[in-house]
Symmetry: C2
Subunit: 236 residues, 2 copies
DNA sequence: ATTGAAGGATTGTTCAACGATCCTTAGGGT
DNA sequence: ACCCTAAGGATCGTTGAACAATCCTTCAAT
């Protein structure tokens, strides 16, 4: 028979409800394309033909267009009326704008450190450790993803799902730009130490210093990317 | 013949290029529905039948579904698999999350006052004046929209298109909640003076005080909304 | 009151079609 | 050689229809 302890079973089931939600065909197609784009398999500027992709993936044009909408909204694709969709080509202006937004959000997020939950602060620490371990093992691609997770965790300090989603979008978009950097090591290595420096300042209660460090951190990264863009193609 | 003064005509034309871009049928349908939702003509929770709406608007189901997708991404509609789309019903948690995000962005944006362009700071002042004039004329709905523009202009200080877009989304979503407030005057009136107070502090160079004022401003508004929600329906 | 099954209504997905738009190419004029 | 124009092909935008899958309602049975 029912007892007070039994009350919890429902919550336990509901906790994983996210997995239950059916994913539509369009959603799966979008997931596939997103992965391809983010790992650079689809070169920026490439036009994605509806008919070609539709028949290649075995989905109808309508469904494919639905997947396109998802990715256009994530800014990974751009849609030009009557011309089709293209893999996004980031310009220098985009990089500047993205870092402007990142500085705003991430620097402000640091000020939430003290009021953040233990889970949120732990996530920051874990991502940092992960990056350090990957660096020690020369796995520089993993360093890059751990770095992403670090910054995502910083945003998580705020405790707002919408802020999390916005930052996830910014970081995803930036991955389009990371492809122009040749060696992942030279790009990611300098920031592993920065991650720890910021975290140390935070735990020491020197929040404003951490903010300053984060700002310089992001300014450096921006400059590095802008320089790479200028070297690659001065026109854009 | 051409003179130096004529050089500007091209820029003037290009400035309005936004209007030139053809809009798809789905885009126009989405614009129409968005306006209806934001002004409260479509009540939250209402289900939008594909067939009924499609024939009413004279567009096919496929096109209508594309319009739905746009609005789902803007969080004005929610989509439930095999059940259809519904006008978003905000919960108290949504309101809390939205204000958490607003505090992060808008408070941080104030610190960009000194480095902002003249156009950006002017926009803030103009929106404030507009709200004051509307209040003086007892046009409280206009006060509300001017208030929106004020906060949008605050975000504009950052000078990032992505930040602008994010804040526009937050404010649009919030308008879903504003409808639960009965009298627009009691909700908007207190903030007209707050707008000026913040601007005065900014122009006086007392940035951190302005940030504190903005934070209290937003906390007050959140509390007011949360109270209204609790009064309306304690369950959500 | 809860469960189960039948039926109708709505959505999910695909397909085919046609007009509209874009890009390319060829041709004519200067 | 260069520019403008026109024709053609390719692709997109939108529609309508069709069928399967899913949901909601109703009603009977336990």
């Amino acid at each position: 028979m029912a007892t007070a302890r039994d009350q919890g079973w429902l919550d336990a089931v509901v906790a994983d409800r996210g997995r239950l939600e059916r994913s539509s065909t369009a959603q799966r197609v979008a997931d596939l394309l997103r992965a391809q784009i983010l790992e650079g398999a689809l070169a920026p500027g490439l036009r994605l033909s509806e008919e070609a992709l539709g028949s290649a993936l075995g989905v109808s044009r309508n469904t494919l267009r639905e997947a396109f909408r998802l990715l256009v909204h994530e800014r990974l694709l751009v849609h030009e009326y009557s011309r089709g969709v293209f893999v996004r080509v980031l310009t220098v202006d985009d990089v500047v704008d993205l870092y402007q937004a990142r500085r705003l959000v991430e620097c402000a997020a640091l000020r939430y450190w003290r009021s953040a939950s233990a889970a949120a602060t732990d996530a920051v620490r874990r991502a940092m450790v992960e990056a350090e371990e990957a660096a020690a093992a020369d796995r520089w691609v993993d360093v890059g993803t751990a770095n992403m997770r670090y910054h995502q965790a910083i945003a998580g300090l705020v405790g707002s799902a919408r802020v999390d989603a916005a930052v996830a979008g910014l970081l995803a978009e930036l991955r389009l730009a990371f492809h122009v950097m040749g060696d992942p090591r030279t790009f990611h290595e300098p920031y592993v130490a920065g991650n720890r420096a910021i975290l140390d300042l935070l735990t020491a209660g020197r929040t404003e210093e951490a903010v300053g460090r984060m700002e310089r951190y992001l300014l450096d990264a921006e400059e590095q990317l802008v320089a790479a863009f200028a070297r690659l193609d001065p026109s854009r």
